[in-house]
């Protein structure tokens, strides 16, 4: 068994030398994020009274669903409360990507075979990846402790906060290492890991909304940073749970690794059909083949979750605290229940623009990887782009419509309010033009800067979200906020101009048209 781990140390050094930029961001971002939050909280709440007054008013139902209850009304308590979800997400995502890259992706690309045939024992790559992942997470957490104590927050509470998110991120990484044992393709392993992570996050939100204590929360990494109670009577003994769980999962993945062939998975590969079905004869059929997985996953996810949201909306209202600062807004949106659901569905719906960028990303990948094969066929480039635009525009609209319909249906069933179905459907469907505008931007980028399309699209989406937040906090003028397509559909504005939706549609059409024209003229970006 000793020989199985041979070379693990050398591999750890090798992995650390690769993707240094990736590791650096993973290492530094938690501390930077926490420092920014601490400094801005210190500026925002100079006195304890200011904190109690303003800080508590900042807590709206959405924030509470995301972060859970605020345990301690102090700068330290506020900072740990505000940062923990982001820190776990960040650490978790980086850990998943890192683990899959050094386990399944390396195997898929044949690097593992190369190593295994030469210097490394059978378990060494997995062990090295796990060890590095835990070390980077630990170092990142240590930097956060340093940053927090340097800024004058208590040592013990900071330590509890950091151990909480360190444990969560590490266990999520270990889960990814386990998922990597099951599937032959890195994509399937990564998808499963992110799916699991998303499920844990959804459970976290659901439990927060329900406001009750669940025994299972002790097993959910997303809940650990809250349960450890930083700055509110730290419960360090809870760390025994992640220790035991992480150890067990890591042992299980090495056990599975030792029992399978390199390159093989535990989920067997099926052999496919020798002949194509009669339908596979056009670009549209091909686009369906490559886009359907993404589309159906989003469609079902949104349909189910929207129904649950609508159905549980009256539950949430009871759990939501009555924040005085929100009363005006709540009244405008038609009462507590409606306000909550409207806001939630707005944010939830806007996230569908991530799907738009992902679907456009599929188009880009198709061009990059298969463009030579595909565009040397007797096909027009515009036809190729159009076959994917069906999903970028039609698919996203279908997901939004399904979300609205299911939320309305859920609300009707849950509350007996007959008018909810039509009201919520049209409310959510009103987001479609804003989401289309994002699609228009993506297509324009595809035409002008294809190699940068995905990066810039995600960058712009983040910018739009930040603009929303800053506008809400009145830190940017409405004229600047108007540049974000979301500003034209936000329910937070007292009134929208009657032409808002038309203008968004026109913008989407103009952007798309320009993108198509540029795409026709440019070199294929392979």
């Amino acid at each position: 068994m000793r020989g199985c781990f041979h070379g693990a140390l050398s591999l750890m050094k090798l992995y650390l030398r690769q993707n240094r930029f990736f590791t650096l961001i993973w290492l530094l971002l938690p501390a930077i994020w926490t420092a920014i939050n601490t400094v801005s909280s210190l500026v925002l709440f100079p006195t304890q009274e200011a904190l109690v007054e303003m800080g508590v008013s900042l807590i709206d139902p959405l924030t509470e669903a995301m972060h859970g209850p605020l345990l301690d009304v102090s700068i330290a308590g506020f900072v740990t409360w505000r940062t923990k979800v982001f820190l776990v997400m960040l650490g978790g995502i980086f850990s998943i990507v890192y683990m899959i890259r050094h386990t399944r992706l390396a195997e898929e690309e044949g690097k593992r075979g190369l190593l295994g045939a030469n210097v490394a024992g059978i378990l060494a790559p997995l062990a090295a990846a796990l060890a590095n992942m835990v070390i980077v997470n630990a170092l990142g957490a240590a930097l956060v402790v340093v940053a927090m104590t340097a800024l004058g927050l208590g040592m013990v509470g900071s330590l509890a906060h950091c151990l909480g998110f360190f444990a969560a991120a590490s266990v999520v990484g270990i889960l990814a290492g386990l998922a990597a044992q099951f599937f032959v393709s890195a994509r399937a392993a990564r998808g499963t890991s992110f799916g699991l992570f998303g499920l844990l996050f959804s459970l976290h939100i659901l439990w927060n909304v329900s406001g009750r204590h669940h025994a299972f929360a002790y097993l959910n990494p997303m809940d650990w940073p809250l349960l450890i109670h930083p700055f509110a009577g730290e419960r360090f003994y809870l760390l025994l749970i992640p220790l035991a769980l992480g150890g067990a999962l890591a042992a299980l993945s090495t056990w599975l690794m030792a029992r399978r062939d390199v390159g093989a998975g535990l989920v067997p590969q099926r052999s496919g059909r020798a002949f194509a079905g009669p339908g596979l004869r056009s670009l549209s059929a091909l686009a369906w083949r490559v886009q359907k997985g993404l589309f159906l996953a989003w469609f079902c996810f949104y349909a189910v979750l929207s129904f649950m949201l609508g159905w549980a909306s009256y539950l949430m209202v009871n759990a939501v605290s009555q924040a005085a600062a929100l009363t005006e807004l709540i009244e405008r949106l038609g009462g507590m229940e409606r306000a909550f659901l409207t806001l939630f569905l707005y944010v939830f719906g806007l996230l569908i623009s991530v799907y738009v960028v992902m679907a456009a990303g599929v188009l880009r990948e198709e061009e990059k990887n298969k463009g030579e094969t595909l565009l040397s066929m007797p096909v027009r480039r515009e036809r190729f782009v159009l076959s994917h635009m069906v999903y970028i525009f039609g698919g996203s609209a279908a997901i939004v419509a399904a979300s609205g319909f299911c939320a309305g249906l859920g609300a009707t069933v849950g509350t007996g309010d007959q008018g909810a179905l039509a009201r919520l459907f049209f409310e959510v469907a009103g987001l479609i033009p804003a989401i289309w505008a994002v699609g228009g931007i993506a297509i324009l980028l595809f035409g002008v800067l294809p190699k940068w399309m995905t990066g810039i699209s995600y960058g712009l989406l983040t910018l739009f979200v930040l603009m929303e937040i800053f506008w809400e906090q009145q830190q940017i003028p409405p004229e600047l906020y108007a540049l974000s397509p979301f500003s034209w559909v936000t329910p937070l504005k007292a009134a929208q101009p009657p032409y808002a939706l038309l203008a968004l549609c026109a913008a989407a059409i103009a952007l798309t048209g320009a993108g198509l024209a540029m795409c026709h003229r440019r070199d294929a970006a392979l």
Partner: protein, 249 residues
């Protein structure tokens, strides 16, 4: 110049830049109809760029390019009905089987028969029921080669199509090229495997740093080779390298 009228490909003074780097700087080649044309040169010489311009994937910056009597950029869709292309770096659809890809590409191109498909799959010894993501590089190349040879077209453009094939399959490939040539098709074969070019081509163009430095029939080139020590295509090739480095110094 008597061949110009029935040239499958005619390129003169072709230039292509990517930003500041110049990929092609005044390239001239003529591929007679019905010939097997070997387009040889080291990596990065501009072979793939030339082919991508011929396929209308890239836009030329200057010069003339004519493909089957048409403009490769403007008449791309019409011209693509008359040619088949096998790229060098083959990426296929992960979730589709090799058989599905061959059928799909065949249907898109048209002129595709089940009998020929079965024959080529057997000759290249391909398992068409495997998902593309599990294929090795050689197997992915087989998929696009089969789909190119199966199609009933005038021109085959093959860009380093055998870099992942084993010697046995290399033999099958050469046989298929000869048969295509016998059937009157033009074959444009880009390669840096000199033995392969020697074995199947009757016309040769040698490209180096975006320019054709030697072009002619295989016999003419053989005469040139005879002057080398030892008398091989490799030696001729290495000499060009040597001249270049000497000039560079």
């Amino acid at each position: 110049m008597s061949q110009v009228k029935n040239a499958a490909i005619k390129i003169s003074g072709l230039t292509k830049r990517f930003g500041k780097t110049s990929a092609l700087s005044g390239l001239d080649i003529t591929v007679p109809q019905g010939s097997v044309y070997g387009f040889i040169g080291p990596n990065g010489a501009g072979k793939s760029t030339t082919i991508r311009i011929l396929l209308g994937l890239l836009k030329k910056n200057g010069g003339r390019a004519e493909l089957l009597g048409g403009d490769p950029w403007k008449d791309a869709v019409e011209l693509h009905k008359r040619l088949a292309y096998a790229p060098s770096e083959v990426q296929l659809w992960d979730g589709m089987t090799g058989g599905e890809v061959i059928d799909f590409l065949g249907r898109m191109r048209g002129g595709f028969s089940k009998e020929r498909r079965a024959r080529f799959i057997e000759r290249f010894y391909l398992d068409p029921t495997k998902k593309c993501k599990t294929y090795s590089k050689g197997n992915r190349q087989k998929v696009v080669l089969i789909s190119a040879f199966v199609s009933d077209v005038e021109l085959l453009i093959l860009d380093e199509p055998t870099s992942g094939l084993d010697p046995l399959m290399e033999g099958v490939f050469q046989q298929c090229v000869r048969e295509a040539s016998d059937a009157g098709k033009t074959v444009f074969l880009s390669s840096h495997i000199l033995s392969e070019v020697e074995a199947v081509c009757d016309q040769i163009g040698v490209i180096r740093a975006g320019k054709v430095i030697e072009e002619g029939s295989m016999d003419e080139l053989k005469a040139l080779i005879q002057g080398q020590t030892p008398p091989t295509l490799e030696a001729l090739f290495l000499n060009y390298y040597k001249q270049d480095t000497e000039r560079g110094e």
